[in-house]
């Protein structure tokens, strides 16, 4: 990690440590912590990290933003920081200035489509849009007869059916019915919904990797405190081996996610097989790690980790929820498998070795 990435990530880390302590949040049923946290993040310029100065953002690099997302994952942050960052990034691809306040992206699944009509209005239905209920604006990707467009849409003009994801955060259905956007621009050549989903997938991968790091951390700590059969449970070989496997899953997620982020940072175009391999693999492998890793973390904690009072679920359930956003691991596995098949058997190793 470069020094500047450290500085931005450390800023985020400090804000989360001060204003998003997991114990405090877990006991605050009213959500009083949310507003001060969002304000501090906004003052630090983090939600619009990926938006250049002239479009209303703080102009941080892609790498700096990715580092922030890993930290956000470690704290299982339940405000739309990642979503606003991604929305700002999408708007920037269309050279559209970002407004203040919470945003999210529509659609958030490869299955859903928004279409642009000849009269300039947008229509479509998007399921599982994270934090739609909390957002003031949506960054929308739409298909029209002249290709792909990027639009800024006022959330108040859309119908939002409230839903809740596995992690307890809003995951809503957004319906656009002939909505006139605040502003709309054509996307650059080669940019399409797959590009957005891959980028979203890498964002979620970094968050999952972060959540797994925390699950490993608190599981190790708990095993060194909890006594059973007259010794710390960390001294039992079965527990040690489970935690070693959790470390392996955490490591795999971290490696896959940071590699994919790095491939996007250094890519000249996001429309390449190499970026596809990296980003799809990250989402697949991190999702698998979320399943295996959270199961071990819960196993180590026993019944206490299954209680609403304990903080473990903040990480475990979010890591599991994040698997579903921007294409599940099943979706990406099929797409990656098809790509590999089309390239042919003898081109598989050269692709893997090129990374």
């Amino acid at each position: 990690m470069a020094e500047s990435e450290n500085i931005v990530a450390e800023t985020a880390e400090k804000i989360f440590a001060d204003l998003a302590d997991a114990q405090t949040i877990n006991h605050d049923k009213q959500g009083a912590w949310k507003a001060p946290l969002w304000q501090a993040l906004t003052e630090a310029g983090l939600p619009l990290s990926w938006v250049p100065d002239d479009l209303g953002g703080s102009g941080a690099s892609l790498a700096e933003g990715f580092a922030v997302l890993n930290v956000a994952g470690r704290h299982a942050i339940a405000v739309p920081l990642a979503e606003t960052m991604l929305a700002g990034w999408l708007l920037t691809q269309g050279k559209i200035a970002s407004p203040e306040g919470e945003m999210t992206v529509v659609p958030a699944s490869p299955k859903d489509r928004v279409t642009l009509a000849a009269d300039g209005s947008l229509s479509g239905r998007a399921r599982g849009v994270p934090f739609a209920k909390d957002a003031k604006h949506f960054a929308v990707l739409a298909d029209g007869k002249d290709g792909v467009s990027i639009a800024l849409v006022d959330a108040a003009k859309c119908r939002i059916e409230s839903g809740t994801g596995l992690g307890g955060d809003h995951s809503d259905t957004v319906t656009l019915d002939k909505v006139q956007p605040v502003s709309i621009k054509p996307a650059s050549k080669g940019f399409n919904q797959t590009t957005l989903m891959l980028m979203g997938g890498v964002v979620r991968s970094l968050q999952i990797a972060g959540a797994l790091e925390s699950m490993l951390d608190i599981s190790v700590r708990y095993s060194n405190e909890r006594v059973a059969f007259e010794k710390k449970i960390s001294k039992f070989q079965a527990v040690q081996h489970n935690l070693a496997r959790l470390a392996g899953e955490s490591a795999a997620a971290l490696a896959a996610a940071t590699s994919a982020a790095d491939s996007i940072v250094s890519a000249k175009s996001l429309d390449t097989d190499a970026v596809f391999l990296e980003a799809a693999s990250a989402k697949i492998r991190c999702s698998e790690a979320a399943e295996k890793g959270s199961a071990i973390a819960h196993q180590v904690h026993g019944a206490i980790g299954f209680t609403i009072e304990h903080i473990l679920h903040r990480y475990s359930l979010r890591a599991l929820a994040w698997r579903d956003d921007f294409g599940s691991e099943s979706h990406w596995a099929v797409e990656l498998g098809k790509l590999v098949a089309i390239r042919g058997a003898d081109e598989l190793w050269p692709l893997v070795a090129s990374r």
Partner: protein, 386 residues
Amino acid sequence: MTAALRFDPIRLPEKCEQLRKEVRAFLAEEIAAGTFDPYAPNREDNDAPEFSRRVGAKGWLGMTWPKKYGGQERSFLERYVVTEEMRVANAPTRRFFVADRQSGPVLLKYAPEHIKMDILPRICRGEVCFAIGMSEPNSGSDLFAAKTRATKTDGGYLINGTKIWTSSAHIADYMIAIFRTSPPTKENRRHGLTQFLVKMKQPGIQVNPIGQITGQFEFNEVVFTDYFVPDDHVLGEVDGAWKQATSELAYERSGPERFLETYYVLTELVRAVGKNPDTRSAEGIGRLVAQVHTMRRMSVSVAGMLQAGKEPVVEASIVKDIGTVWEQQLPHRVRDLAAFVEETATNRETLEKQLDFAIKTAPKLTIQGGTTEVLRGIIARGLGLR
């Protein structure tokens, strides 16, 4: 944080890509000349001494070592490229692999100068084969229970005892082995073992082949009877072998051979399903590709840390733990998917033969070079649990 595991996204430098092209071209020539069959993954059976010499002539053995010993002073990342290309091609590396990866570095660190000057250039030329003498009939994972004695005598030591599961001992010119020079102490049960360089193919050493479930004869029992080893063949500190074992292990544990051992079945599955896979095949292949890509990125990351002079002991153990478990499961996952391959697939027979071989090979992958259980113990220690 309890455990700050690092897996930075290290990339192979540009110069590696030129090298990769050279290695691929060389291997293609060897395949065309009939040196080995890339579809028949039995490199353990194929003792190809001429191939070994040709690899040496290319400068690809001992490539990270000092030039005065025949090396090339190239980076570990360049060596990484050569290793992974050879693995994926199923090249017959048995004759030089151990010497290049492990034995040479041990000699570099602990052997006297005249021995280095004698042996290291021959390793680089691909002329000598090494074996590793660790396990004994009653000490496998528990290395420090070794009993084979090295008794001091005039000018050297007399060796008596038995090593077992010693890969390639039947063709090896040398072995690097640990023998007991003193009993363990009450305070330190690891005390009393010494590392030696042993010249094979001599009277006093009997090598008995042991058949494996794959049908191969790749490992052996090696019996020493009053076998004389001169003083200058002691490697490092007498009674202090336990201090020497750890740092080299990171290289041994994290290389491409720790997840690519059965990779060929994945290539062949992709060939068998063709350009238009059904959803189940596509999904299955996609997951396996994501997993192997991730393993490789982890492994390259550790190689990069080693090149930078760090000691990623826990990270390397993680790579071997999940890498060997993965390569062990791979043939079974490929078999799951192969059940749906069309009868008419042109490579069906090749795939089935490879699956048979890979499934038979699989059990050893999580045993050799440090069992899964031992590795998880090392990881647990790194996490602060021990």
